[in-house]
């Protein structure tokens, strides 16, 4: 049987890389690391419902960048520097002194907000990669008994996410076939209601099933097949730790990890 990595490895790896990205605070490194991660995900992700998490996290990252830039430019203290354009200032009541909407937009302001946005987006992308590379179910089972209650809720939440995605497309399609085109905010209400209904009932079903199979009844659990740490697992975590010690080597670390897991 082709043994895959320990389910915690990718999370440790992604966590370390994300921390390192935040530490370097360099856009080019962040983008390069996300690029390498994308290659890893493409090679390693299996045909599972959660494999799509990475592309979803990328989309979410783009939104984060857009929102960050937009709010940064519109609201807040102007930064001195080269003016690109001047937006009309929206007058606010006097008690909101110190806050300004609109006004001059400087290049410095634009680059600094874009920088922030990209940093956040790349961290989200790295965690998304971990989510798409490791099975949430296996993660649940490798949780130590100590953090068990907490682990259960986290893992159930993460395993529901991919179901969420498939449900959305299914409901969207049914709505389209009812003659409703799914555009605009109004269509969201149409999708959200059946979606939440289904997600809720699915979670209740899962909870009932786990309950009746004795989950959480005894504090101690045995393991059918221990998820053992192999040398490859240690190697990958070790490499990731290097990036914490020396963030400037981040791109190299990412590339080496990609080679380690390459088939």
């Amino acid at each position: 049987m082709n043994r895959s990595l320990h389910p915690l490895v990718w999370w440790i790896w992604a966590g370390a890389m994300a921390t390192a990205v935040a530490m370097t605070s360099s856009i080019s490194i962040a983008i390069a690391v996300v690029g390498v991660t994308a290659i890893v995900v493409r090679n390693k992700a299996e045909e599972t419902p959660w494999a799509a998490s990475f592309s979803w996290s990328l989309k979410m990252g783009l939104w984060v960048i857009a929102i960050r830039v937009l709010t940064g430019v519109l609201i807040g203290v102007p930064m001195p520097g080269r003016k690109i354009l001047t937006l009309p200032v929206i007058p606010l009541p006097h008690w909101m002194a110190g806050i300004r909407i609109g006004g001059p937009v400087t290049l410095e302001r634009l680059t600094s907000t874009a920088h922030d946005g990209i940093m956040i987006a790349s961290i989200i992308a790295l965690l998304g990669a971990a989510a798409s590379l490791s099975s949430p179910h296996r993660l649940l089972r490798s949780m130590p008994v100590m953090v068990y209650e907490f682990g259960v809720s986290v893992v159930i939440a993460t395993s529901i996410l991919p179901q969420f995605v498939t449900s959305i497309s299914r409901i969207k399609q049914a709505q389209r076939l009812r003659g409703h085109e799914s555009t605009g905010l109004l269509s969201w209400r149409r999708i959200a209601l059946p979606l939440f209904e289904e997600t809720l009932s699915r979670s209740l079903d899962l909870a009932a099933a786990m309950d009746s199979r004795g989950y959480g009844f005894t504090r101690k659990r045995s393991k059918y097949r221990q998820d053992r740490w192999t040398s490859k697992d240690y190697l990958l975590c070790g490499i990731a730790m290097v990036s914490l010690a020396k963030p400037e080597l981040l791109v190299l670390v990412a590339a080496v990890s990609a080679l380690v897991v390459a088939p």
């Binding site: 399609q173 076939l177 149409r190 079903d205 004795g214 393991k223």
Partner: protein
């Protein structure tokens, strides 16, 4: 083994008791069937056994339930895990792990069993349920019947004394259903397991049941052997109704019983039998598929299918789970594009239809009818449909009241029973008066009376109003009642396409009960037989 004494149950925020003063005892090694109309509380009875109700759902429980001498009042469901195995209505919702082997081990892990015991038991179960070839497979990729077997296996692996199953075959094709039921039968006989099962498709299970708990709508409950219950129960499979129509003194539970009892009567009938001539009215084709191929990635879902459907036809699309029925339906309604070939509905490409033009042409009821509904009440939902389809306000609601009388218009769609929800979705779709109506597995969770209403409605739509109806279903009894033509799909190809009698009679697994009893006479429904008897007199 299981003892209910004066059990009554009421859910929170509800005025009506679900169960009133229910008492019964199930002894070891019995297979007990719980039956009753939809939404009557069958699932509640099953979930009371291991205490999921009320520990998990809330509600007030009066009386006492004990299993193997343990009262469920004092013990939570987890504490009964070693004693009771429970398999929910949709096993896919209850799986915790990804692969078959891990899923089987999961329950034992939570009970902290030593690893060598677990290894041994997993091997046993893999053999017992013939799951060995699937041991490393991802559960999500298994077929419905295989998933059901895994769910049963993961309950059995705990060596429970009681196995509880909520509609284990409702989503399965006849062959997979037979597999699952024969396994249950074997477990009861070989291991002395006590099995409690609920099922709508009675024709599949009554032959295995030792006793039946019949929950009637009016708060009464009857308990007895199948013979006692079916002596006068209205809720009965076709074979019982057939026996009544033929005025047999005994009550047959299997096709074999029935054939023995009717040996002479059938001989008399055969001579007078005439196969009703099939009207070959060649009207213009409403739906045309020309050499359609659909692929999902590398997987071939539909290959080179050509089909032509005219108005006035009711087409049943049948086949095993995963044969490509849903893919075919999705192509017809324009939910997905096709890789090769053409799909035309009234000379238009269904994939490009939008808005009003779509609702006038195609009505689609998906497997989960609730996907279509999003308003807060039945009345809102109906007026939304009126508005969408530019019809006079109140049209949809009137239609609904005709179809499913007794729905309060203030009810939230979620609180409707399965059958009522299907009715609502149907009315919403029908208010656009579409030329073709497409239904994906409409009878999952429907009882016989709801099915009857559906049958007469579909007939009215297709024959009375000159429209076409396409149904994908596993329910052979429904097909026998309603369809004019059957398209049988296997591995993405059409293997049979013809009048309903011809296709159903040629396959023993997909033949309805009446046909099996009356074979070789080509009758599919009780009405066919009654008419033949009339002709004979």
């Amino acid at each position: 083994m299981i003892k209910f004494s004066n059990v009554s149950l009421i859910y929170p925020n509800s005025q009506q008791t679900v169960i009133e003063d229910l008492s019964f005892t199930v002894s070891e090694g019995e297979l007990v069937l719980v039956m009753g109309p939809t939404g009557i509380g069958k699932s509640s009875v099953l979930r009371l056994i291991n205490g999921l109700v009320p520990h998990h759902t809330g509600g007030i429980l009066a009386g006492d339930i004990s299993v193997n001498g343990i009262s469920t009042h004092s013990v939570k469901p987890g504490g009964l895990a070693h004693l009771i195995g429970i398999v929910g209505q949709n096993p896919l919702h209850g799986f915790v792990t990804d692969t078959v082997e891990e899923e089987l081990a999961f329950g034992m892990e939570t009970l902290n069993m030593p690893s060598d015991v677990m290894r041994k038991r997993v091997e046993e179960i893999l053999d017992l349920l013939s799951l060995a070839p699937l041991r490393n497979r991802t559960i999500a990729t298994l077929s419905g019947g295989e998933q059901q077997r895994v769910a049963i296996g993961s309950a059995l692996v705990m060596h429970p004394k009681v196995l509880v199953l909520d509609e284990p075959t409702s989503a399965l094709d006849p062959i997979a259903a037979e597999e699952v039921l024969s396994i249950l039968h074997r477990l009861v006989h070989d291991l002395g397991l006590t099995v409690i099962i609920s099922e709508h498709k009675l024709e599949r299970v009554i032959q295995f049941a030792d006793r039946i708990i019949h929950i009637q709508g009016d708060g009464h409950t009857r308990i007895g052997t199948p013979q006692e219950i079916f002596a006068d129960s209205d809720l009965a499979p076709p074979i019982i109704h057939l026996a009544r129509a033929m005025q047999l003194s005994e009550i047959p539970l299997t096709v074999r019983d029935m054939r023995r009892m009717t040996q002479t009567k059938r001989k008399e009938l055969v001579d007078g039998s005439v196969l009703a001539p099939i009207e070959n009215s060649k009207t213009e084709s409403l739906v045309t598929l020309k050499q359609v191929t659909i692929n999902y990635g590398k997987k071939n879902a539909i290959s080179d299918v050509s089909l032509s459907i005219s108005s006035g036809e009711i087409i049943a699309v049948m086949g095993r789970n995963g044969a490509g029925k849903s893919s075919l339906l999705r192509a017809i309604v324009g939910a997905s594009t096709v890789d090769k070939g053409d799909v035309l509905v009234a000379k238009k490409n269904p994939f490009l239809l939008q808005g009003r033009e779509r609702t006038q042409l195609i009505g689609f009821i998906p497997q989960e009818p609730s996907d279509l509904l999003y308003r807060q009440s039945v009345a809102d939902e109906c007026s939304q449909a009126d508005q969408d389809n530019h019809v006079v306000a109140g049209t949809t609601l009137t239609l609904l009241q005709e179809l499913v009388p007794g729905i309060s218009s203030h009810t939230h769609p979620r609180d409707l029973s399965e059958g009522q929800r299907l009715g609502l979705a149907l009315c919403v779709v029908l208010s656009g008066s579409p030329k073709i109506l497409v239904l994906d597995e409409p009878t999952r969770g429907l009882d016989y009376s709801a099915k009857k209403t559906l049958v007469s409605l579909l007939k009215e739509i297709a024959l009375g109003q000159e429209r076409a109806v396409i149904i994908a279903t596993h329910d052979v009894e429904l097909v026998a009642e309603v369809a004019t033509r059957v398209v049988f799909i296997a591995e993405g190809e059409i293997v049979a396409d013809g009048p309903v009698a011809q296709v159903l009679l040629s396959s023993p697994a997909f033949a309805p009960q009446v046909a099996k009893v009356m074979s070789p006479s080509p009758w599919l429904t009780i009405n066919d037989v009654i008419e033949a008897m009339k002709r004979n007199q």
